[in-house]
Amino acid sequence: MTVVAIVCYVGLAVAAAACLYRLVAGPSVPDRVVALDTLLYVVVIGIAVAAATSGDGSFLGVLVAAALLAFVGTTTVARFVEGRGSQ
């Protein structure tokens, strides 16, 4: 199970690095929003993997909060970009 956890963490680190690159380099604001949304879900998947491989469910509340926050943040910035683009 430790080997599975390490492989999962390495894969998630690569995915998070790709999201971070797109977050920094993305040419437009919606690119960055998509990257940030994906990055937050990579974090959520990481917390779920940590809880599953250790059997400790203490951080599952963080999981729910981060999932809520991803949607609210994405929607808010999308509205902001849309309002700014129409002017």
């Binding site: 199970m1 599975v4 492989v7 999962c8 894969g11 998630l12 690569v14 995915a15 998070a16 690095a17 790709a18 999201c19 690159y21 797109r22 040419p27 437009s28 604001v29 919606p30 690119d31 929003v33 998509v34 990257a35 949304d37 994906t38 879900y41 990579v42 959520v44 998947i45 779920a48 993997v49 809880a51 599953a52 491989t53 059997g55 469910g57 599952l60 509340g61 999981l63 729910v64 999932a67 809520l68 991803a70 949607f71 994405t74 929607t75 999308a78 509205r79 970009v81 849309e82 700014r84 683009g85 129409s86």
Partner: protein, 127 residues
């Protein structure tokens, strides 16, 4: 490792692989809409696979509700969020608009569209 652990590990690794696919797609695809295509769908399925693996592995059944809540919430909100980002990017003029094959947002016939009452006549829509 027991059989349940093997199956759950396969689910976890599959979910992480799909998250990795989403990251690579975000990195490599050329424009916003293809990046959204890469980022939303594998991340959602990967989330579901990791949640299934977690439900199989966690010894305490009281944690299952939180995990399944996150998966259900992702399935409800990911289409809405992707729709809003796509429409915002379209109206802001970003994204590869010249590469679109079908451009239904330019046709109108919806509230706030190009033929909506504040911006133009609401007639001559091909319904």
């Amino acid at each position: 490792m027991s059989a349940v652990e093997v199956v759950a590990s396969a689910f976890l690794l599959g979910g992480v692989f799909l998250a990795l696919v989403a990251g690579v797609g975000l990195l490599r695809f050329p424009d916003l809409f293809s990046r959204m295509h890469a980022a939303t769908k594998p991340a959602t399925l990967g989330m579901l696979l990791v949640v299934i693996g977690g439900v199989l592995l966690m010894p305490d059944r009281s944690h299952d509700a939180k995990l399944l809540l996150v998966a259900a919430f992702r399935f409800l909100t990911a289409p809405v969020a992707a729709h809003m980002i796509g429409r915002a990017a379209y109206r802001a003029g970003t994204g590869a608009l010249e590469d679109l094959v079908v451009d239904e947002l330019s046709l109108g016939g919806y509230p706030g569209g190009p033929d909506a009452p504040p911006s133009g006549p609401a007639s001559a829509s091909s319904s």
